[in-house]
Symmetry: C2
Subunit: 283 residues, 2 copies
């Protein structure tokens, strides 16, 4: 499908990068932005991410395709408004990092079939329209949940878009998605936030951190720059899975602690040899 | 100083990258390797990292400059042997990630003044001679400890080498180094090893990890590929500092846990806003 009029709700990292890609790949002829703040909307126009900024109701009405990428707690009521408003000719997708609460909230909506629940698993630690980049998404996984609840024809369009962006499609139910996302993404963000707080708490001579910080530190802590407004609702919506993984992670850290306390070199090495197995999962 | 005969003890990531740089920058005319295993020694010759491999005693005798980059527990006895053997015309440095135990062990050695305690803060998660790369070290910090205990003329040579490699020199006493290294490097490795074990433990469908794993996961977990033989002795030698930071880190993770358990959104956001401050420390 080409030459769509597309509305992006939210003009940040994900929606902005998505809009740039839609235009580059010829899917969109006109892109409308909906922004919570005037400043971000203005910036998105300036950066050529959207052609115009409109209030939500007008932006919905004008669009063939509406793409929602805002904090996951705000997504639910906005998505209900959108589905209340659209016609059978329009369709909608979201990009949220949690899927279960949203899918459940929309399950019985008469327009559920015009909605596709998606999670393109790409991102950086930056946020806002300035964070939007060209050639995002490439080579990453994109999850579609409850595919069977969406009209085949709009799933085809959405898949076509994501595949053209270079993504690999994966299908899951919403509960499975949220569990896997906790392991693969949410816990990484929590450890990174907590590690930043650890170092900020313990290290008073910040100048020295700056001087010494090498690639390893930067790599484990960079996610701590991520947006609290975006991530706090994700952790909270997925709290049971996140708590489950977080408890396991604390247990694993306690094993390292016990090795050091008891000077148990053998067990320490064993823990690390086991961790090396991650090698065959990453490349 | 140019055209040195250099012996590297250990033919791995750090020593190998250092040897390649010494040759590229014209410091070394002949490089001898000392290797624990025949296979690594052979590989180092094949890769052009060293010109020949010799037993330790011969390799010490032939060298102007001896550079030791092996696990930190093995470093202490080997360094004692080296200082027992060298003449006043030779000099030695190490590249270990801990400095206090080594400096203490060598404190009263009559040849202490021919030794420079250094820690070039660069590395990757890979190990062995195949992991050695050209243009390593650039832009990173290099710590020299107890500079005043080493002859000025050999400190000058070592500094000249590291600076030519693009490193920024920092001076500290050994205890301060180990404390800072725990914050800036060692804890990152522990969290990464523990995160790998967490995911390996909890996630049975490994195929799905592989499919979904995005950049964030990879970045927080990549250090878990690091060598246990290299890192276990570092954690153990620096156990008091590492335990101190690890306890703080577990405390910080528990704060996230409490927020989720009590659904305290406000405090959760507060923790994350605080973590964002890491932004001004990194760039």
């Amino acid at each position: 499908m080409e030459n769509l009029t597309v509305t992006i709700v939210g003009v940040g990292l994900i929606s902005g990068s998505f809009a740039l890609a839609l235009r580059d790949k010829g899917f969109a002829k006109h892109i409308i932005g909906v922004s919570r703040t005037e400043a971000s909307g203005k910036k998105a126009v300036e950066l050529g991410i959207v052609d115009e900024v409109l209030p939500l109701v007008d932006a919905i009405q004008k669009a063939d395709f509406i793409y929602v990428a805002i904090p996951v707690d705000a997504t639910i009521p906005i998505m209900e408004t959108i589905l209340d408003t659209i016609t059978e000719k329009q369709f909608v997708a979201d990009a949220g990092s949690t899927k279960h609460a949203l899918c459940e909230a929309l399950a019985n909506h008469p327009m559920r079939h015009r909605f596709v629940a998606t999670h393109p698993m790409w991102g950086t630690e930056y946020s806002g329209p300035e964070a939007a980049v060209r050639d995002a998404f490439k080579g990453r996984a994109c999850v579609i949940c409850e595919k069977e609840k969406s009209d085949v024809v709009i799933v085809d369009v959405i898949e076509d878009i994501y595949k053209t962006l270079g993504m690999n499609m994966i299908y899951m139910d919403a509960a499975a998605h949220d569990m896997h996302a906790a392991y693969i993404s949410h816990i990484s963000h929590i450890t990174s936030f907590a590690l930043a707080n650890t170092v900020l708490e313990k290290e008073k001579e910040e100048h020295t951190i700056f001087d010494l910080a090498g690639g390893g530190f930067e790599s484990t802590v960079r996610l701590a720059k991520s947006s609290p407004a975006m991530w706090a609702p994700i952790f909270m919506q997925n709290r049971e899975n996140v708590l489950d993984v977080l408890n396991e992670h604390i247990t694993q850290l306690r094993k390292f602690k016990a090795c050091l306390e008891k000077e148990n070199m053998e067990y320490l090495q064993e823990l690390m040899v086991n961790a090396n197995k991650i090698n065959r999962i990453l490349k």
